[in-house]
């Protein structure tokens, strides 16, 4: 027990740094660790060596909980064996001085000794005690479920470990942003981010695809909580091996196709644009995902048209669902599309997309690009409302803001161990509750004097709690009543009882 206390304390302390320091693989802010490295260039690499940015996957954290589980198992298995033996053997014999037990009664009964013991035993069996009559005493015990629950609770932690391992070894997580009207096919290359586990069958992901038909978001317009989200609603049509159909995906209501689940975790805007090059040909057309940078969905994004003639075109800038300006420039004042504007600056030159290196679709590599300048000599930057076009000087091309679509972020998860974990959790809760609620106790009945008076037998009844909780009322009384019988309204003068709290 002392080991358990020490290891539990260690576990609690070890869990703290992970909540204070930024962690890898914690969903709320994937960039936090990177920022921490920038802010603490000296310290961060050392902390990284101590796994302080991955506390819950670190060897020292694992060491603590594995030690805990090992010591727990070493303690629990012998207890299982003992419970098994105890539940098959007779309850232990009565102590010599029953009157010293916490609950005690002595009384006389009109029944013969054998008969009295049988009566007491029957009364106890009715109360679901395990009962044996040995010699002149009845031995009874009840509440084995307490230890059973306790052991089930502890062993459920091992089951939980199996469930967690199942997810960690075979599952995967991923994220993908899909614009309205776009489709997604479930292969790892289509994910924006894909985190497989050690033994994830990456080539064998659930075959399915879906299209985001529409996405709607509503925001609070009451001034006190202006802009708080109120509802998100994605409509998708999917195809899978099990059939096709449409589904509504909302927070707390994922798309679940054969255990691969798609959770709606975020959204943003995807302005629809058309880019024409210097020859007037359309070189790009469609929605472009812009990433929100604040709660009013001021969004950053780029539009790339590398194949434009005579020279490649790139655009970089902001999308504002509800345009406004503050001291630093254009921002959005409300997350809904009240007055959508696109504010872009243009670049010309080689976008660097033909040399084979991978590039983020959300940033523009401006090393080989020239900003397009306006008449005043500063970079051309023109706010566009829906339907408006930004024309580049010298007939280099144009960008038209056709309309506003949205995109939805899906968190994708497959965890084959979660059912095992759920079973473990239920076992844990059930075992824990049982082990705290049930009171294990022993009760003895002994014939002390076969002839205290003509036709009477003296009997002692005593009871002891094996737990620190008080004994439940009623057991002792029931046995006493059964022995005295209903015909003895006035118990004999020698009857005495006492109750005291367990002094353990």
């Amino acid at each position: 027990m002392r080991t358990a206390v020490i290891l539990l304390s260690l576990l609690a302390v070890a869990a703290v740094p992970g909540s204070v320091l930024p962690q890898r693989n914690v969903a709320s802010d994937p960039q936090a660790v990177v920022r921490y490295f920038v802010q603490h260039p000296e310290l961060a690499p050392w902390m990284d060596r101590l796994s302080l940015f991955n506390v819950y996957g670190s060897p020292w954290f694992a060491a603590i909980y594995l030690l805990l589980l090992v010591s727990m198992t070493g303690c629990v298995l012998p207890r299982c064996a003992r419970l098994w033996r105890e539940s098959r053997a007779a309850p232990p014999p009565a102590p010599r001085h029953l009157s010293r037990e916490p609950e005690y009664a002595s009384l006389t009964t009109a029944e013969p000794a054998d008969q009295a013991l049988e009566t007491a035993a029957a009364a106890l069996r009715r109360r679901r005690f395990r009962v044996r009559i040995v010699g002149d005493e009845v031995r009874a015990e009840k509440g084995y479920l307490r230890e059973t629950g306790n052991l089930a609770f502890h062993l459920s932690l091992l089951v939980l470990l199996v469930g967690i391992a199942g997810g960690r070894l075979y599952g995967f997580e991923g994220r993908v942003a899909i614009a309205e009207g776009s489709s997604f096919t479930n292969v790892s290359a289509e994910y924006d981010e894909f985190f497989p586990s050690v033994w994830t069958d990456v080539e064998g992901l659930e075959p399915l695809s879906f299209t985001l038909d529409s996405f709607d978001a509503e925001f609070e317009t009451d001034p006190a909580k202006l802009g708080e989200p109120r509802s998100f609603d994605a409509r998708v049509s999917y195809e899978s091996e099990e059939g096709s159909g449409t589904a509504q995906v909302k927070p707390n209501s994922p798309l679940d196709i054969n255990e691969t689940k798609f959770f709606l975790t975020g959204h943003g805007y995807a302005p629809e644009v058309t880019v024409r090059d210097g020859t007037g040909a359309v070189t790009f057309s469609g929605p472009v995902i812009f990433l929100p940078s604040d709660s009013n969905f001021t969004s950053d994004g780029v539009v790339k048209a590398p194949d434009a003639q005579p020279v490649g075109l790139g655009f970089q800038g902001l999308f504002l669902p509800t345009a406004a300006t503050d001291g630093r420039g254009p921002v959005s004042a409300f997350p809904g599309p009240v007055d959508p504007q696109l504010v872009m600056t243009a670049f010309t030159g080689d976008l660097g997309m033909s040399d084979g290196t991978t590039q983020s679709v959300y940033t523009l590599d401006t090393t080989n690009l020239e900003p397009v300048l306006g008449e005043d000599g500063s970079p051309l930057r023109q706010p566009l409302a829906v339907g408006e076009t930004m024309r580049l000087p010298d007939d280099q091309g144009s960008l038209t803001f056709d309309g506003v679509s949205r995109f939805a972020n899906f968190q994708v998860a497959y965890d084959p161990g979660k059912e095992i974990s759920l079973v473990a959790a239920l076992l844990l809760l059930g075992g824990l509750t049982t082990s705290l609620v049930i009171r294990r106790r022993r009760l003895w009945v002994r014939v002390t004097d076969t002839a205290p008076a003509e036709g009477f037998v003296a009997v002692e009844v005593a009871m002891r709690s094996l737990t620190r909780r008080q004994l439940p009322a009623g057991d002792l009384e029931a046995v006493s009543l059964a022995l005295r019988g209903p015909d003895t309204p006035n118990p004999s003068p020698s009857t005495q009882t006492h109750t005291q709290e367990p002094n353990r």
Partner: protein, 326 residues
């Protein structure tokens, strides 16, 4: 008057009544402490072999002025008034919570303010339920004090107007998961305060046994260490499975909402730390040599983790639970 305004007024009224209850309890304690001194003086005068406030080892430490024997004294009457006021405060608190729910048209525990006004209710209800079965009126001043403090913070710092919630909270798991957390939190609060009183009383007893005399006039009139220990343990044993359920329900909700049942989000981490501390408490309490004061520190650590999870994690640490809005 709209529901939300009515709710705010009811909470303000509850604070006022709780303050009166706290004053009444404090007055009772003061009266009892003073009376205890008089008794000590009398006893000492009659029998120089001091059997005073903290009777030394021979007899089990007993209360100088047990509430049963002081039922008719003015102090006890003030204490009874305190309990009545606490009941009234609890009813106003309840009404404030119900009207808040009517104003928001949902379960009224969707943000920090609402969490605070509901947890004061569960803590108060736990104390009053306990009072019917155990001689723990000494707890009253502290419990009601904690309630007043929490409600005061709620209406000043945490207040937010009644309204709808962000979509991710639109789930029946909010009702289940947060309700379980609030119930266990209320009971843990009673458990923690009882534990502190137990430790005060136990130190007093130990000092009295060692020195044969005592200075702790307040500690001397508390319920016996046995009683306090039993009540504290009972509260923790009652709340622990509910807290376990709250964590499991949260995990199930997280699986249904974010795609993983456990992700070491700061809120989850601190719920885990709380759970582990209380688990350590239960183990320590069953370990010879650790029972009593030593085990109590684990319970207090668990409660500290719980409180930090509510205030600290919500206000200072960014995470997925950050929408739990101030």
């Amino acid at each position: 008057m709209t529901w939300d305004l009515l709710s705010d007024n009811l909470i303000y009224s509850a604070i006022a009544v709780y303050v009166l209850a706290m004053l009444a309890y404090a007055a009772e304690t003061a009266a009892r402490v003073n009376r205890g001194v008089e008794v000590t003086a009398e006893v000492t005068a009659e029998a120089p072999v001091a059997v005073g406030a903290g009777a030394p080892a021979a007899a089990p430490p007993s209360r100088v002025a047990p509430s049963s024997s002081t039922a008719g004294t003015p102090g006890a009457r003030v204490g009874a008034v305190g309990s009545s006021l606490a009941v009234l405060g609890l009813l106003l608190n309840l009404a404030g919570v119900v009207t808040r729910g009517l104003a928001a048209e949902r379960a009224p525990w969707g943000n920090m303010y609402e969490f605070a006004i509901v947890i004061t209710m569960t803590a108060g209800a736990t104390y009053l339920a306990l009072l019917r079965r155990q001689p723990v009126r000494d707890l009253g001043a502290w419990i009601v004090g904690a309630i007043v403090l929490t409600l005061g913070l709620a209406v000043t710092v945490l207040y937010t107007p009644a309204g709808d919630l962000v979509p991710v909270l639109d789930s029946y798991w909010l009702v289940v998961h947060v309700a379980a957390a609030i119930i266990s939190g209320g009971v843990f609060t009673v458990g923690a305060l009882t534990t502190i009183l137990f430790m005060v009383r136990q130190r007093h007893d130990a000092r009295a046994a060692r020195l044969g005399r005592t200075r702790g006039r307040y500690a001397a009139q508390l319920p016996t260490a046995d009683t306090l220990s039993r009540v504290a343990r009972g509260a923790h044993v009652f709340a622990f499975p509910i807290w376990t359920f709250a964590v499991i329900a949260g995990a199930i909700w997280a699986e249904n909402s974010w795609g993983r049942y456990w992700g070491w989000d700061p809120k989850e981490t601190w719920a885990f730390i709380t759970w582990v501390c209380y688990a350590a408490y239960l183990h320590a309490d069953a370990t010879t040599g650790w029972r009593g004061s030593r085990a109590s520190w684990f319970a207090l650590a668990g409660y500290a983790a719980f409180v930090f999870n509510f205030f600290g994690v919500n206000m200072w640490i960014p995470g997925l639970h950050s929408y739990a809005g101030v």
